[in-house]
């Protein structure tokens, strides 16, 4: 096989033709969850770099007041594409992709329930991404109305370019992909667990993917309908969101945030799952309060669909509505706090090994809590009225999305890389990546809290020379450059480790969930023999038969 990735063994049966290109075709035509999972991860990395470049360009433009490095029109396209890319083409595909790879292994299955549907999901992401990015090449350019595309700006006559149309179509494609993934996950997890693995014994990552999948299948249709309506408005002159025509701009906001808010939980729950796997292993202790982590996830999922109007406090829904939504939004802090407590309690008294996955997981807790705290602050209506649409909000969501989801993603990559590739990632480069990330990330986004409170609005291509605005923005830009360097280190690490990384055993971290019983990388069929499951940590039980997790478990043979 010509591919450098020593991964899934080649097809033993010769394909009809294209013998020389058999390697690539195996990938393109694959319905194997491991290959599809890896393709998800690869495409994610590509889009991460692209989205990151978009951000870097913006940060350069904002480094000093009244720069004209980037024109306002291009700037608008940049922030729209940056947000769209990071959410729909980086975080979501990564988390879904790592789920696609890991869930069957973690439950002792041979593949997902619907392998071809799995492949469709992946290729729809690629197609959607190509469709949206193609718009950069058109005369009117990429979408420029912000990733939340508020009407009437997104509609005629305010937006005559084709960008938003490409955007809605591309995201419809990815939406179908996500629903398909959600359905596939649900059926896989509910029906394909190995004997002994009851729903109360599944790894927390699998549980998170399950709850996320339910969220996906119920909230993607909301945005799909909104995109359909927006397209009908733009292409057929319908009147859904155009006030001049009798439509309602607020309706778009309700629909968008009705999806948008649960979406951010979709972006974070699988990340919570990764953290819930990494922290116990690197603290050498089982997770503290498994039931509480699992139960609180359901609570978050259920609550998340009812709080969307906290993105609309400044719209004029009325004091009563604002009050109720504010209250309900603050409630979500409780189950989230429960989780943080559980993770910290897991670390407490454990023998902590600060390998790179654990560095990211620990930093995750700190950064995510910071983002969560600012979130609780802006759940308060008066505070939100001051800082809405300012850099305070930008800081908040970057803390939870980068400091949260991305840190968890990095932890997951370092954790599972040996399983994917059979090689360890370089710890030295990992530590460089980690510290550059922490420094760069906090440098970029911490000052933005202050900028926001001082009144700097988001989504504007420049600003006046108000006191400290210039210096803080400069700090933020330098931070972004450090962050860019960190990503380069990461990519270098991946590259070098693939080629020359230390060979990894089946279970280099001495972890306990089923995926570590497969070889590194796993064989095509995953397991020759799935270990017996009599508790939540099958490999622990196997290695310590005198100290099983569940001493009273019935033995199913």
């Amino acid at each position: 096989m010509s591919s450098r990735l020593p991964l899934v063994p080649e097809n033993t049966e010769p394909l009809p033709s294209l013998k020389e290109n058999q390697g690539m075709l195996t990938w393109v035509a694959s319905v194997d969850h491991k290959q599809i999972g890896l393709m998800y991860l690869i495409i994610t990395m590509v889009f991460f770099v692209v989205g990151g470049l978009e951000a870097l360009l913006m940060r350069i433009q904002l480094a000093q007041p009244e720069m004209s490095f980037i024109s306002p029109e291009v700037y608008n396209q940049l922030f729209t594409m940056h947000g769209t890319t990071m959410i729909f083409f980086v975080v979501m595909p990564f988390l879904i992709g790592v789920g696609v790879y890991m869930v069957p292994l973690m439950i002792g299955a041979r593949d997902m329930a619907f392998p071809r549907l799995n492949a469709l999901s992946f290729w729809l992401i690629v197609f959607g991404g190509i469709l949206i990015y193609y718009s950069f090449l058109t005369q009117s350019g990429a979408p420029d109305m912000g990733w939340f595309a508020y009407s009437p700006l997104s509609e005629k006559p305010f937006s005559l370019n084709k960008g938003p149309t490409y955007w809605a179509l591309g995201l419809l494609a990815t939406g179908i992909s996500s629903v398909a993934s959600g359905l596939n996950n649900i059926v896989t997890i509910l029906t394909m667990r190995t004997p002994g693995m009851s729903m109360r014994r599944i790894p927390l990552f699998v549980w998170m993917i399950l709850v996320t999948s339910f969220l996906l299948i119920f909230v993607i249709p909301i945005i799909a309908s909104a995109f359909a309506m927006m397209l009908l408005d733009r292409l057929l002159g319908a009147a859904f969101f155009t006030p001049a025509h009798g439509g309602s701009a607020i309706l778009w906001q309700h629909f968008f945030w009705g999806f948008g808010h649960p979406e951010v939980y979709i972006l974070i729950l699988p990340a919570f799952g990764i953290i819930s796997e990494v922290i116990p292993v690197f603290s050498r202790k089982p997770i503290f309060g498994y039931e509480f982590v699992a139960g609180s996830t359901v609570a978050i999922g259920l609550l998340s669909v009812g709080v969307w109007a906290h993105h609309m406090f400044a719209v004029g829904l009325g004091d009563v509505a604002n009050l109720y939504f504010s209250f309900a939004s603050m409630l979500i802090a409780i189950p989230t706090g429960v989780k943080v407590l559980n993770w910290v309690a897991t670390m407490w008294g454990g023998k902590i090994i600060f390998a790179t996955p654990m560095l990211f997981a620990t930093a995750f807790i700190i950064e995510f809590v910071m983002g969560g705290l600012t979130g609780v602050a802006i759940a308060s209506v008066p505070i939100d009225w001051v800082v809405t649409d300012s850099y305070f909000i930008v800081a908040h969501f970057h803390y939870v999305l980068y400091g949260g989801s991305m840190f968890a993603i990095f932890a997951g990559v370092y954790y599972w890389f040996p399983k994917f590739t059979g090689r360890m990632m370089s710890e030295t480069l990992g530590k460089w990546h980690f510290w550059l990330t922490v420094i760069g990330f906090n440098m970029t986004f911490f000052v933005q809290h202050f900028l926001g409170v001082m009144g700097m609005p988001r989504r504007t291509y420049t600003y006046h020379d108000f006191p400290y605005w210039g210096s803080m923005n400069l700090i933020s830009t330098i931070g972004a450059i450090v962050l860019a360097a960190s990503v380069l280190v990461f990519i270098w690490n991946v590259q070098v480790s693939l080629r020359r990384g230390k060979k990894a055993s089946n279970n280099p971290w001495h972890a306990w969930t089923l995926e570590w019983a497969a070889s590194s990388p796993p064989a095509v069929h995953n397991f020759d023999l799935v270990p017996p499951v009599r508790g939540r940590r099958p490999l622990w039980d196997l290695a310590h038969p005198e100290q099983p997790d569940e001493p009273n478990a019935k033995v199913i043979d």
């Binding site: 509910l190 009851s198 729903m199 039931e291 609550l303 309900a328 478990a553």
Partner: protein, 271 residues
Amino acid sequence: MEILQLFNTGWSFEPWVLVFASILLGAYMLGVGVELNRYSILYVLGVLVMLFALLSPLDFLGRHYLFSAHMVQHILLLLITPLLLLLGIPKATAEKLLKIEPIGRIMRVLGYPAVAWFLGVGAMWVWHLPSIHDMALNNNSLYIIQLISFVLIGMIFWWPVFTPLKSKRLNPLTGTLYLASACLGCTVLGMLITFAGAGLYTAYLNPADTAGLLPLIRNDLCITPGVDQQIGGLTMWVPGCLIYLSASMITLAQWYGAPDEGVSAAGHEVA
């Protein structure tokens, strides 16, 4: 009239309520016996909540002044009281009752999750159609039917999740779906009421100010009919859904607390 005055004098001991409560208590005493245990406490609590909802100034406010007060009453009657009553029935009594045909046959049909769900969510929706809702406020017999139906249908709704026959309960994951979808049904209704313009329920637009409370409500508390309707819709929505959410947490807690059979079943979750 001041609030304290209202609290002292707004109670109305309507005969039908007392009769209904007596029937509920009497049936319990006959069927279960008189003993102080957690079942009887829950059951009596359910009856007390119902009495509070129907006799207290809440009822007075809800019938004559505030849609939002009416909503609070409905939530107590449809969600809280029936749950407490159901939880107060010991398993043995339920088994005995169900052995009696036709009760057994009826409950087998009504207890079917899809049926119970549609009855529960349906009752909420039907009684909130503006024409029917206003009719019930004006027609006393319909009003009584509405409130009694809430209690009975509420018990049917909670049956799949909290039936005294623990082995017949929905498994917690399905139960969570059952409750979450009911929450959705409740949310859509709450949303429609909240965001519709004021005046959905004409009875509350300009109520006859028999107790002299209107200045307090409109001027001091600034609760206009529009705000009142919003509060009502949001109350149905947010606290309503929180009740479903809490019930789901309880079932999950019980599930995790019970011993794990470790059965994965090739098909569907059993344990």
